[in-house]
């Protein structure tokens, strides 16, 4: 048997057969549960992939608009205002909050962005000229950062889910292709061993019965001979000829017994 080597090292006893059967049952339940989990995760994973695609396209568009609006600022202000902006920004206006989302037992981080109200550090930049462009550019970039944050949380979820799905699939496959066949093999092995034992037992019993029958037959024959000799002694010399036949028959019986033994 090819799978004979692929089995667990157990003694083929009824007790371990019971254990193995319980194990097989457990493995099958686990397999179906994990399979379902993997399916749920994969569904989520596909959705995230789709959303990442959308978000990336959106980001491309938003970034393009944003960098054009920066060009507009340069045009309207007529110079580099980067330094002023850097220096006048004191605290973050755009912040993110991290929270966790539970998808079939997997914790996915999700980032949520929010604007702090009334925080407008460089509202005055470009007061003389270009102020509106500066403000609009800021809004555009805020939108771009929003898209980035969304993309970031999707990407993180993507990576984590990918990892988890791999692990789960590995488990599903391990159960399906290793644990279950091996347990089944073991059960088969135990069963076959037990059958073998049964047969041996049966044969042994039969052998014992035969031996007993033979012994009884031998004892009977002996008894018969004894009786015959007694009868011979009682009957005298005239029964000499039949007496010579008697030992012949006994050897015949023995030969027959031996033949029978070979056949059996």
């Amino acid at each position: 048997m090819s799978g004979a080597s692929d089995r667990e090292a157990v003694f083929p006893t009824r007790q371990s057969l019971g254990i193995m059967k319980a194990k097989l049952k457990g493995a099958e339940t686990g397999h179906s549960l994990l399979k379902r989990k993997s399916e749920a995760l994969t569904k989520r994973f596909r959705e995230i992939t789709r959303r990442i695609d959308e978000a990336k396209r959106k980001m491309g568009r938003v970034m393009q608009i944003a960098s054009l609006s920066l060009a507009e600022v340069t045009y309207a202000v007529g110079g580099n205002i980067g330094y002023q902006i850097q220096e006048s920004a004191k605290s973050a206006r755009f912040r993110i909050r991290a929270k966790q989302e539970n998808v079939s037992g997997v914790l996915l981080p999700a980032f949520e962005s929010y604007l702090t109200e009334g925080n407008n550090d460089f509202a005055m930049t470009g007061l003389g000229k270009g102020g509106q462009q500066v403000q609009r550019c800021r809004e555009t970039y805020a939108r771009a950062v929003e898209a980035l944050v969304e993309l970031a949380s999707l990407q993180t979820a993507f990576v984590i889910l990918d990892e988890v799905i791999k692990v789960v699939n590995r488990r599903v496959n391990a159960i399906e292709h290793v644990i279950i066949p091996r347990t089944e093999n073991t059960i088969k092995y135990i069963n076959s061993e037990l059958d073998e034992l049964d047969r041996e037992e049966f044969y042994r019993l039969k052998k014992v019965a035969n031996k007993k029958a033979r012994d009884t037959a031998a004892a009977d024959a002996e008894m018969k001979e004894k009786k015959a000799q007694q009868a011979l002694l009682e009957n005298g010399q005239e029964n000499q000829a039949p007496a010579a036949d008697g030992p012949d028959t006994t050897t015949d019986i023995l030969a027959a017994e031996e033949d029978e033994d070979v056949i059996f």
Partner: protein
Amino acid sequence: MEGLLFNVNNGYIEGIVRGYRNGLLTGTNYTNMTQCESIDDLKLQLGPAYGDFLASLPPNPSTSSLAAKTTDKLVSEFRYVRANAVGSLAKFMDYVTYGYMIDNIALLITGTLHERDTRELLDRCHPLGWFETMPVLCVATNIEELYNSVLIETPLAPYFKGSLSHEDLDELNIEIVRNTLYKNYLEDFYNFVNTHPDMAGTPTAEVMSEILEFEADRRAINITLNSFGTELTKEKRKKLYPSFGQLYPEGTLMLSRADDFEGVRLAVDGVSDYRQFFEAAGLGGGPGGPGNMGGGSGADGRSLEDMFYQKEMEISKGAFTRQFTYAIVYAWVKLREQEIRNITWIAECIAQNQKERINNYISVF
């Protein structure tokens, strides 16, 4: 009368500047530039006008380095003209540079306030606003020192005097400081062209008054529009308006009371030019977004800012129709600046592949 002796001192300069004006890019050049596929093509198109200055640029340069090189050309030409200028024209040209100095000083003040190493900032300063004592500003480490010992020595000292104390520099928003300085500068410049014996009553005074009045009005309107929704109070805002210009005093007073776009529109209603601008901008963007140039929302509508630039360019172009005037130097600098902005814009559009907005430049020739 002014024609009699003007050429004795200033004829050469006038000739040079008129020559420079002829070197400005024309509408045809711009049309060619908008057809370019890459920055390299653009560089090639700019070859005749900017050849020497662009030669050192690497292939496919960034738009900012392109802008820097084109500015270099303006600066070197300006320095040449300045070196040849004498007497009141020299003074006049110094006045032109004060505007850039204000920007530079504001930059350095910002750096000092945040205790940065101001030496790095010297590179970021506009070269036209460079003055000899500017590196000295970096010596000051705190704002009081800067005010008491260094700013006093700069050409801008009179603009600080009387309106800003060193506490103000510390407390006020740098933008308010900058705009206060600019207001004082505009008033001083206006006063200078109208009272200096060499200029009063000449075409210089006439043309420069028009330009400066327009500049003053533009700043007043812009400050008002940009201050909506900021912590700038109406009272403080009023102090930032220059005390001359077509809007002064009634329009300025109304501007100081304006709360929204509509209020500004009412304030400028008395001046037909601005009224037209506001009507056009109002149709394009509405009260929510005056000056609508961006975000793709007002792609074809011209913004208020655009129209102001357009107007400025037209006035500057008009200045060249007059003879014997210093105003052409100012007008030339402004035209050149606009040209640099146009080039940057076109380069930016080409680099970002956003050709639909590429025609947003302003060309008057």
